[in-house]
Symmetry: C2
Subunit: 358 residues, 2 copies
């Protein structure tokens, strides 16, 4: 073979050699490694103020985890805010791909979304996750959000809350009459009913509202954040249990088109990282609330009391009445309520026996 011919063939040899190196790099036998991995860059928003650091940290960890375990093929960055849009609307419209929030914020649009967050006298955190995973709850949730082009997943639970701070004792249901109380959402609808007659009152500054007498009582979040805010300095009585929110599940919202564009492995990355963060947030809340309650108990100025059973019975009856009204008004609500209630009945029966150790 002549030199000239060799030189002419050289590019072809090099091509073959380099192609082989390209598709099978040295030191690896990884199978099915995508040869052209596609990268996704998502923007994320959350409904929480920065200072709720358990949630802020949880979301940051989720973003970091997704980056690490996806090998940076799915990069999520926190976007500032959505302007006029809610996080739900921003995800729904595709302005952002992913958001973190809580389903009871969207009950004006979707009344049945209530069951995906928390219901007064409803399931606790553990039961609710069992319902979502094993009782058909997640399928119902995804069905409700589908028309808004959103794929929801659970990500976080605040655990049970306390019953709130009161500046007077609650001995009977009549003590709620004309009580100016900050208690938002469905529980607020329950206590506004005529047979209870409380006056739900909105405020962003419950500490001063209590001090100024604009509020008689306030339900905020739980011992840890209540103590941080200083509520224990403005009201004497701290009541339990948190009948109004027995375990609030938080949600990851994903734009449906963005979700469907992901390859299956990145879908699984999201699911697993979200589940991991779900439990991280939950155990953070549980540990910090337990410690904060202990600290509050050692403060002699605070009177930590249980609502009397007869008060809880009345609140439970009023809750049932309100849920049934809402079920009559909305077919989705009725359908989800029935599924939720049946599952809870089975789980409550088990809990009443299995969890009976004091």
């Amino acid at each position: 073979m002549k030199l000239r011919k060799l030189i002419l063939l050289l590019p072809i040899f090099l091509l073959v050699l380099l192609s082989a190196t390209c598709t099978k790099p040295e030191n690896t036998t990884a199978q099915d490694m995508p040869s052209n991995p596609q990268t996704f860059n998502w923007k994320m928003m959350a409904v929480w103020p920065e200072k709720l650091e358990i949630l802020t940290q949880g979301i940051k960890q989720f973003i970091e985890d997704v980056g690490i375990i996806s090998n940076n093929r799915l990069n999520i960055t926190l976007a500032g805010n959505a302007g006029e849009l809610s996080v739900f609307e921003a995800v729904s419209s595709g302005k952002i791909e992913i958001g973190h929030s809580v389903a009871y914020l969207w009950t004006d649009k979707i009344p049945a979304a209530q069951f995906m967050a928390s219901v007064p006298f409803g399931m606790d955190a553990r039961q609710h996750l069992a319902w979502l995973n094993n009782g058909g709850g997640l399928g119902l949730w995804q069905g409700l959000y589908k028309q808004y082009k959103i794929m929801p997943f659970p990500m976080g639970n605040t655990g049970m809350q306390m019953g709130g701070w009161f500046n007077k004792r609650i001995e009977k249901i009549a003590d709620f009459k004309k009580l100016k109380i900050r208690l938002p959402g469905l529980a607020g609808e329950v206590i506004v009913q005529r047979e209870i007659g409380a006056i739900p009152t909105q405020t962003d500054d419950p500490v001063n509202a209590l001090k100024d007498g604009n509020l008689d009582a306030v339900e905020w979040m739980g011992p840890y954040y209540d103590k941080k805010l200083g509520l224990h300095k403005k009201a004497k009585y701290y009541y339990y249990p948190g009948w109004h929110e027995p375990g609030t599940t938080l949600e990851l919202l994903i734009n449906l088109e963005a979700w469907e564009n992901l390859p299956d492995d990145l879908k699984r990355v999201i699911e697993i990282a979200a589940n991991n963060t779900h439990h991280w947030i939950y155990t953070e809340f549980e540990s910090k609330n337990a410690q904060a309650l202990k600290d509050l108990e050692s403060n002699g100025d605070i009177d930590i009391r249980a609502f009397p059973d007869k008060v809880l019975t009345k609140l439970r009856e009023a809750t049932k009445k309100r849920l049934e009204q809402k079920a009559e008004a909305d077919r989705d609500f009725e359908k989800v309520y029935k599924n939720y209630r049946d599952f809870q009945e089975t789980m409550d029966n088990w809990r009443s026996k299995a969890q009976r150790l004091k």
Copy 2:
């Protein structure tokens, strides 16, 4: 430029072109994508019989998830058995890289391992995970296993169990005297103490042992697996609560050298996939036990009863005595017991208030 010179330069052009294509394949902008991803092939074993399908499925899902989210860089295959070695020894020696089991199996070697699984009258599933993640429990666990060259993580919880099947009623602590009962582990040590005087009895076939009168009572797993085994056909009384195991955490065992050889991102893959499986197993047990208990309740032949409070009080006292004996005999046990007990006290106080809704 002459044609010949051009031909001579062609290989260099091609090299540059192909190198660019190699390091930055089309359709991707993935950053930090390892150019030489290393692949790891691990063998795994579990201590469970195949028929405990919740665990079998959980482990299979874990293996599949690790494959998917690691992009097949960490491939785990189930190995048959370790011959003479226990799963713990097989992982410790490096014969296999990873195993699934429960820490109370290794208390002969490491008495304090008891606290990593479940302790009579100890923490429930939720509290235990909070302790591991937020109370220093996981660090203590990893410290205990380090001399055996094993890195442990929680992966799964069976939830609370029932108190067992009895062929006679338990009205007072004296009814345990000379009772032939299958109740392994620390709870077995508790009831063998003189003031209780039961006769813990081993059996792999509790159904026939009950039928033949070789056993008076048996604690097995919980309503779902108890019912599958048919225990409800051989004993009339089904007692609760499961004081002996209030929420048993299962464990992932990883050979320490294999762990340390993993790059950080694959370590995180393991942690996140294990946490995900932890909760999958737990909610499976909770949902299936709740449904099975309901089914058993609808069977008129079974008498489902609570242990009287005074019996539980005696069992609790006997448990405390036994734990203190063990703490005196082993410094690690003493250290972990103190940490565990303090955390449980804080969590129990919170649970007694927050989880007070019936």
